[in-house]
């Protein structure tokens, strides 16, 4: 066999294959010739000849065809070397497409031809290449395409990029056109992308060496970053934040589509990151803080836009730091505004009206402001809750952020605990009237949610006890059932400790009902009913369970509180009777009568007043126990006689402030003027004289005479100081208890650790003040519960058993 002869046969066939005239060729003949060459150990030479043949073919014929499609205008335009506008976009685009088409054609032809050559040279590949570990002839031919075509320079000019670089430019240019809204031939680009994906940068045929990655993708990502940076700038300047978000979403989707249809899907995550970086990550802060940003969206209830902002930031960071920050800031601001408004509402009319308006009216206004504050807080919370569900996909991070900033502004209001208790009080007395069970349920839930925010739970408990006490004793609650539900919810939320005393109050009420009924039965069994008998309904309150201010009318001076109220004989009899009955049931208990809390129905006969043409009138007056005592004094008085305040006080021993208040409701309040006062003024002075008003004219048979400031309302300053003092005292005890508990268990502990543990223990009730803890520790040392450990590097304590 002559090698040259045989090779000549093969070479001529290969030329025909490249020229697409292979139909006459016999596969068996060509294969047999290559087979024979390999059997004759000329595989090496054959391999080299084929490679040489391919190199020649590519760098003469194919290179020429491709370079022809790269006219100077196109090259200049791609390089940005042409003067602006000299070559229209359309022309560049057409020329670019022709180049892409030619390259695609060359690549596809090359593959088809090489596939046929590989068939012919199969024996060489299987035997010679396998033995000598050479790459298959197909692989070598593919690298030749890379070297001879893609790495060739147009017209041999090195100052121009090679074909591969030019290809990048053309593709990127087409993508730019598409991004600007043009239509491009995606399949054409995809074919060229496949070519880049099929070729490697070097002999190492590993994933990372693919030309698509090493040559194209990097440039694509870099130019995209540049494009989106500019777009971001422009959008921030020209569009509002909502549009920005929508545009960003659209762009991300577009890039995804582009990877699918035009490039490779493996690029999707990378280009997404570029768009996310440029349009979201680096811009989120500016976007959120822009004029039409999150604040604007919240104010104008742009829920869809907010959802977009959320969605976008969630893409780049699951913690959504910018959105969370902005939300917190906005909530805090809105909350602080509410706080300021509440304080303003409470104080606004004070200066100018103080002279005229009575202090009570001011307090009422403040109470209204307090209730409004709570309602506003709820409304704010509802607003953000709705937003959270609608726009933020009920996201946990956002939820925490909303919770935190809500808690922050709520607790920054010094009287939040009192206001919240007042809010519940108001609802229990009026708010739930006519509401369905579901509505009440929602209300209770809201109250509990608010309570969750309040840090000083102990203060809240104090107020709640006080308000609840008044509601129960004065029968002001619309539904005891709802009250109990509320307590049950608090128990679920805050635990048994918190509600134990509140439940005790309910128990007292139930027991009192039973006592009253029992007493009635007891009296009935004593003998015939006395027509003049006075009905008694009694509430027996456990002194530690009920708040002191409910049971002690006023903490006036000690002298007054020691004096015992003088009851008229008829009343005294009943009092004794009940006391006896009670002592029989519960021996060893002290009953302390609270005249300021009770009410009495009295039947009063007003005589004829012929001068005014009044007939005799009977009215049933519902008055406080003290008012009843005052009125009874006038029973024994001749018509027209008067009593001074001092006289009344001397004969009843009613504490001064209670007396003044009762006299105000009996003699000053315009509709319930049972007494007349001389001189007629609003204030009550020691020397004022009181007469029975025989000319009282009531519209109804029953008249209720309320006591001024009996309802639950905001505390005045004096009361607050007192509440605070009381609360501080109870906090002091709580701190001491906690310190002793901790030390008893740990025996020795450093100061810092002790303080930290104490704070942790008490956190569910209130946030203890560190100074207060220090003082309590000092006090415990003085009382020898603890001692300082001498020679300890940091100050430490030891528990003394």
């Amino acid at each position: 066999m002559d090698f040259e002869q045989t090779w000549a046969i093969l070479a001529s066939a290969f030329t025909q294959i490249h020229e697409k005239q292979a139909s006459k060729l016999s596969f068996e003949e060509l294969y047999r010739n290559a087979y024979k060459i390999v059997l004759k150990k000329k595989g090496d030479e054959l391999y080299l000849r084929v490679a040489e043949f391919e190199r020649d073919w590519l760098s003469s014929e194919i290179e020429r065809r491709i370079h022809k499609e790269l006219p100077p205008q196109l090259m200049n335009a791609l390089q940005g070397r042409s003067s602006a506008g000299s070559v229209g976009d359309d022309q560049v685009r057409t020329q670019g497409e022709r180049f892409l088409r030619q390259l695609k054609l060359a690549w596809e032809d090359h593959q088809t031809c090489m596939s046929m050559l590989t068939d012919v040279l199969m024996y060489m590949d299987r035997v010679y290449c396998a033995d000598t570990r050479r790459p298959s002839i197909f692989t070598t031919a593919m690298s030749l395409f890379r070297d001879c075509i893609l790495r060739s320079h147009v017209r041999g000019d090195d100052s121009w990029p090679d074909i591969c670089g030019t290809l990048n430019h053309v593709i990127l240019d087409q993508i730019r056109m598409e991004r600007d809204g043009d239509f491009i031939d995606k399949h054409l680009i995809k074919a060229n992308v496949y070519m880049l994906e099929g070729l490697y940068d070097s002999h190492h045929e590993v994933e990372e060496e693919k030309l698509y990655l090493t040559s194209f993708e990097y440039e694509f990502l870099a130019s995209s970053a540049e494009f989106y940076r500019a777009l971001g700038d422009r959008l921030l300047k020209e569009s509002d934040a909502g549009q920005y978000c929508r545009e960003t979403r659209k762009r991300i989707d577009e890039e995804n589509d582009r990877c699918r249809s035009t490039l490779l899907e493996s690029t999707t995550p990378k280009i997404q990151k570029v768009v996310e970086d440029e349009l979201i990550r680096y811009r989120m802060k500016d976007l959120i803080e822009s004029e039409s940003g999150v604040r604007f969206m919240i104010t104008n209830e742009r829920h869809d836009d907010l959802a977009l902002v959320f969605d976008l930031e969630a893409r780049v960071d699951p913690r959504k730091p910018e959105l969370t920050k902005a939300l917190q800031k906005i909530i805090l601001e809105m909350g602080t505004n509410l706080n300021d408004a509440a304080q303003l509402g409470a104080a606004a009319e004070a200066p100018e009206d103080r002279a005229k308006a009575p202090a009570d009216k001011l307090v009422n206004q403040q109470t209204v402001a307090a209730l409004k504050w709570v309602e506003d807080v709820l409304e704010l919370k509802d607003k953000f809750d709705a937003m959270w569900k609608q726009s933020f996909q009920s996201d946990q991070t956002i939820h925490t952020a909303i919770m935190r900033s809500s808690a922050e502004f709520i607790n920054s209001h010094p009287r939040c605990a009192e206001y919240m208790s007042l809010f519940i009080d108001d609802n229990m007395k009026k708010g739930i009237k006519g509401k369905t069970e579901l509505e009440i349920e929602a209300l209770l839930n809201k109250a509990i949610v608010l309570l969750r925010y309040v840090q000083e739970k102990d203060v809240f408990e104090l107020y709640y006890k006080k308000h609840l006490g008044k509601r129960l004793l004065m029968g002001r609650s619309l539904s005891i059932d709802v009250e109990k539900q509320m307590i049950f919810r608090m128990k679920m939320e805050l635990g048994n400790n918190f509600t134990a005393k509140l439940e005790g109050m309910f128990k007292d009420m139930t027991l009192s009902e039973e006592l009253t009924a029992g007493y009635k039965g007891y009296v009935a069994r004593l003998g015939d009913a006395d027509p003049r008998r006075i009905d008694l309904a009694i509430n027996v309150l456990t002194s530690m369970t009920w708040p002191v201010e409910t049971t002690n009318s006023a903490p006036d001076d000690a002298r007054e509180s020691r004096l015992k109220t003088i009851y008229p004989p008829a009343m005294e009899r009943i009092r004794q009777g009940f006391e006896n009955y009670y002592k029989e049931k519960y021996s060893g208990r002290m009953l302390d009568w609270k005249g300021n809390m009770g009410t009495v129905d009295v039947k009063v006969t007003f005589p004829k007043v012929p001068s005014k043409g009044f007939k005799e009138r009977r009215h049933e007056l519902n008055v406080s126990t003290y008012a009843m005592l005052i009125l009874l004094l006038f029973n024994d008085l001749p018509s027209g006689a008067s009593l001074s305040l001092e006289e009344i006080q001397a004969r009843t021993n009613i504490p001064t402030n209670e007396l003044v208040r009762n006299l105000q409701s009996l003699a000053v309040a315009p509709k319930t003027r049972i007494l007349l006062k001389e001189p007629m003024s609003k204030d009550v002075k020691d020397t004022d004289k009181f007469f029975f008003n025989e000319g009282f004219m009531g519209k109804f048979h029953k008249v209720k005479i309320g006591i001024v400031s009996a309802g639950n309302r905001i505390e005045n300053d004096r009361e607050r100081v007192e509440t605070e003092k009381k609360n501080n005292d109870s906090r002091g005890y709580a701190i001491e208890a906690a310190v002793v508990r901790i030390m008893k268990q740990r025996k020795e502990l450093s100061h810092q650790q002790l303080v930290t543990e104490t704070i942790t223990q008490l956190n569910s009730q209130f946030k203890p003040d560190v100074n207060m803890i220090k003082k309590r520790i000092e006090s415990l040392i003085e009382r020898e519960y603890l001692e300082r450990i001498e020679d300890s590097p940091s100050s430490s304590y030891r528990y003394l058993a």
């Binding site: 016999s26 596969f27 047999r32 299987r126």
Partner: protein
């Protein structure tokens, strides 16, 4: 014996289509009808030769350079999975010797057709014939070394037979020429790398191993599904 029950994947054979393969010089051609799927699975040559770009006019493959007598064994192998070289009833020494030569030629045909499974089956047929214990092939080296281009299973097999199984003195009788030079070199190398175990215990031809097969990591023809070897 393989079980009569086999995988349902074998049902694919019900859809096979035939192609015509015309073998032999124009004066003495013989036409074989092979199933396309079988032929292209077992021969890379036929797989390429039946591609559309090489067969513009239809399903007729021409192999004028090969002997139709030999090709018949390949066709038979495709249908049965067996090497059908035992002549019935003949016990003559001549025919026995002829079969060695036939098997070697079949292996070369398999090499030309790039049919690993056929080559491996022929190797196994040769080994089983050695195992019969009637004779040992001693004349195959020139044919094999002249018609192969590198290391392969058949070369290794005949070298091992020469080193371990040839009767004493046979080696010395063989002529040394261009065609047999490679063979003697391989024999020398084989002797040089012989293991201690082989030196003391001799050489055992394992009929059930893939030692002289060419499939490498790919599947052995024996594991291919059913007698039709899909």
């Amino acid at each position: 014996m393989a079980s009569v029950r086999q995988s349902a994947a074998g049902l694919i054979c019900a859809t096979f289509q035939p192609i015509a393969v015309i073998v032999g010089p124009p004066t003495a051609t013989r036409t074989f009808y092979l199933y396309f799927e079988l032929a292209t699975t077992h021969s890379a040559f036929l797989a390429s030769a039946t591609k559309e770009e090489w067969l513009p006019e239809g399903r007729v493959v021409r192999i004028p350079s090969r002997d139709p007598e030999l090709f018949a064994y390949f066709a038979g192998f495709l249908m049965t999975g067996k090497i059908l070289t035992i002549k019935s009833g003949s016990k003559s020494t001549d025919e026995n010797e002829e079969e060695w030569d036939l098997l070697a030629r079949l292996w070369v045909l398999g090499d030309f057709l790039l049919s690993t499974s056929f080559k491996d089956a022929v190797v196994d047929a040769l080994i089983s014939k050695v195992a019969d214990g009637v004779s040992v092939p001693t004349e195959l080296h020139e044919l094999i070394y002249g018609n192969t281009a590198g290391v392969c299973g058949m070369r290794r097999l005949i070298v091992d037979l020469a080193v371990f199984a040839w009767p004493k003195g046979t080696m010395g009788e063989k002529a040394f020429n261009e065609a047999s030079a490679g063979f003697f070199r391989d024999v020398a190398v084989r002797q040089a790398v012989m293991s201690e175990e082989e030196k003391t215990e001799g050489f055992v031809l394992e009929s059930n191993s893939c030692k002289y097969h060419g499939h490498g990591e790919g599947s052995c023809y024996k594991g291919m599904c059913g007698s039709a070897m899909i």
